[in-house]
């Protein structure tokens, strides 16, 4: 394996959890709900999936537990912001803080436990192709899943009737309600979907990426996922691009250091964030105002008032 291939492979693993979590948040936000609890749902996914995987000695059960944990956290958030029309920013932040604490408690008995790596899929013949072989045809299921998810979400939002409904509700919940669209039900499902994705991303972190549990191990990746949605101007394809840019910037700056390019590490670490700001700037120059943001994003909806 050449260095180039190795770098590309590392970038793929670094980008995948960001991509999965950001896709979930994208769907939630397109329905008009801002959930700042991604970090909390993600780390709950990481803790619960690892705990379940070790207890039942099964990666599959682990992954399912991660998704369930994310959904449960999201349901709590939905109860607050849909049921009680609570402030979304405050509820989301509370969810993150709650998740970070609770995951520490759940994960405590599993500190120091380890899991064996899951084997990557090996597609015969294709994976022996030079360079692209290992990159495209010898990844774990999560990687293929995340790319399939991007395509499915893009199709769903752009081409399906129910996707259109979801977007309409996100753009203007008053009108949507007037047309008889089920605002709260659609938002509830969108929030749960966001939670499932965040939980899955967390499962990827603790089961594939690091293969152990440690409190606080998401280290802000949930926040990066949130930034990615904005970076992508709420478009699935751009989330994919953004996630890989973020992943690449993180990994390449480490390589740049190891290769002794003489650039300060702190400056290199800032590149992904700088990229977000620049992307936002370029986007707003082109469109004039905060483009792509759903019109009702972050506004509580109370029917019949």
């Amino acid at each position: 394996m050449t260095t180039f291939e190795a770098i590309l492979l590392t970038i793929v693993t670094a980008s995948t959890p960001l991509l999965i979590a950001a896709l979930g948040e994208l769907v939630t936000e397109r329905s008009g709900v801002l959930n700042l609890g991604v970090e909390g749902m993600m780390i709950m996914g990481a803790a619960c999936s690892f705990a379940a995987a070790v207890t039942f000695d099964s990666t599959l059960i682990g992954v399912l537990a991660g998704i369930v944990a994310g959904v449960a956290m999201a349901a709590l958030f939905a109860l607050a912001v849909l049921g009680f029309a609570a402030n979304q920013v405050g509820s989301g932040l509370a969810l993150t803080i709650f998740g970070l604490g609770l995951s520490g408690l759940i994960g405590a008995p599993f500190v120091g436990a380890r899991r064996d790596p899951i084997a990557p899929l090996d597609i015969p013949v294709l994976s022996d192709l030079p360079i692209i072989g290992r990159l495209f045809f010898e990844q774990d299921l999560f990687v293929y899943g995340s790319i399939a998810l991007t395509v499915l979400i893009a199709l769903y939002l752009g081409r399906s009737r129910s996707g259109l409904t979801l977007r309409a509700i996100g753009e203007n919940h008053g009108s949507a309600h007037g047309l008889g669209l089920p605002v709260l039900r659609v938002r509830f499902l969108a929030i749960l979907f966001g939670g499932a994705c965040a939980g899955l991303a967390g499962a990827y972190l603790s089961l594939v990426y690091t293969r152990f549990w440690a409190p606080g191990m998401t280290s802000g990746r949930g926040w990066i996922a949130l930034a990615l949605v904005v970076f992508a101007a709420w478009r699935p394809a751009w989330v994919l691009v953004g996630a890989y840019i973020f992943g690449a910037a993180t990994v390449l700056q480490l390589h740049a250091q190891a290769a002794q390019f003489g650039v300060p590490a702190q400056a290199l670490s800032a590149i992904p964030y700088l990229a977000t700001i620049i992307a936002l700037l370029l986007l707003s120059l082109r469109h004039g105002r905060a483009i792509g943001a759903p019109g009702s994003l972050g506004v509580p909806f109370v029917p019949d008032r």
Binding site: I7, T10, L100, A214, P215, A258
Partner: protein, 358 residues
């Protein structure tokens, strides 16, 4: 990240509420501990808590212990004072950032004994203690120098501060002493704890031809990356063999138990004095995990070096020490760099072909 701090504050507040209620009226000496991280970090705070458990085991009939974990530095004064108010007569504050709050609370409670780890401010009722981890890093460096086939060894660093830099220098001097042409690559992750990024940093090093890595961050991720690639690494702060049974050559273990027992005994029999302790392999504050996965001659060399450092025959920073520009560093200690020079180290030694980030 503020959300982490907030959770720490909440956890701290919850812990405070817990122990404020549950005090017993016996004449047992109450000993308190304040940790900066979670005891589940399997690294720095975990090892302090292992020390606390050893203390309980040794003197359990005469003392009781309390700990507060996850205490962010801005909140530490409250946590320390709360321990002082609830009858604790000996309080260990285990992070550098707790220095000023500890000094402040110690002034207020002159009858309580305080012990602050890794700081430099003392008072009649405030002692300081730290461990010479660089001694372990010298041994680890020698092993790395012997075990590398590519001639390039790697180091994952948290932040470019003196504690980490002296570790890098000691590691490199060790490697150089057995392999004069050895090269070192350093990658900074700008975090004490980000397992995924630490692992990526290790992978970056391995991808660029490094075949033995060590780390001064808190998770086992770099070691695990070495295991996955069939290369070698070392455990940090605790024995991490279970994460990498084939890759871990040894580990530098923070071992606080003996010190905690000794200091608590001193309080019990009234001989406690405020002093500064900087212990290393000689007093068991730094321990080496069993040497494994290496040929017998390398193991023998490591054991001999360990014994030589223990007996005081060998100092990792014995003079002459040369800076990167080849100039000799002024020798302010007795035949070696002085403690102050090591504790404030801000330069790389000769042979490290890299720059310290500013």
């Amino acid at each position: 990240m503020f959300s982490k701090k907030m959770i720490g504050a909440l956890a701290g507040a919850a812990a405070l509420a817990l122990f404020a209620g549950g005090a017993s009226a016996q004449e047992k000496l109450k000993v308190g501990f304040v940790y900066v991280g979670p005891v589940g970090d399997f690294g720095y705070s975990y090892q302090h808590d292992q020390g606390r458990k050893e203390l309980e085991k040794a003197l359990g009939d005469k003392i009781e212990t309390t700990f507060v974990e996850n205490v962010p530095e801005p909140d530490s004064e409250r946590a320390i004072e709360q321990l002082a108010r609830t009858g604790h007569k000996l309080i260990f504050t285990t992070s550098f950032g707790f220095m000023e709050p500890t000094v402040k609370v110690a002034k207020k409670y002159p009858n309580i004994k305080f012990e602050h780890a890794t700081g430099y401010k003392r008072a009649p009722n405030l002692a300081t203690y730290a461990a010479k981890f660089h001694e372990g890093r010298y041994i680890v460096g020698q092993i790395a120098g012997k075990m590398t086939k590519s001639g390039t060894i790697g180091y994952v660093g948290a932040f470019p501060i003196p504690e980490v830099i002296s570790g890098i220098n000691s590691f490199f001097l060790g490697a150089q002493s057995v392999n004069p042409d050895v090269k070192l690559k350093v990658v900074w992750v700008n975090s004490w704890f980000d397992p995924a990024k630490e692992g990526d940093a290790a992978k970056a090093l391995l991808d660029q031809g490094v075949d033995v890595i060590t780390q001064h961050t808190d998770s086992p991720a770099p070691l695990q990356a070495a295991e996955a690639r069939g290369k070698y690494g070392f455990g940090q702060a605790s024995d991490m063999e279970r994460f990498a049974p084939k890759a871990q050559l040894t580990a530098i273990i923070d071992h606080w138990g003996d010190y905690y027992i000794q200091r608590t005994k001193a309080v019990l029999d009234g001989t406690w004095k405020s002093e500064d302790t900087w212990g290393g392999l000689d007093v068991n504050m730094v321990q080496m995990a069993p040497y494994k996965n290496m040929p017998d001659d390398v193991k023998k060399m490591a054991e001999e070096t360990e014994a030589a450092i223990k007996s005081g025959k060998l100092n990792p920073f014995k003079c002459p020490v040369y800076g990167q520009d080849g100039k000799e560093i002024e020798c302010k200690g007795n035949g070696a760099l002085s403690d102050e020079q090591i504790l404030g180290m801000n330069f790389y030694v000769k042979g490290i072909d890299d720059k310290i980030p500013q």
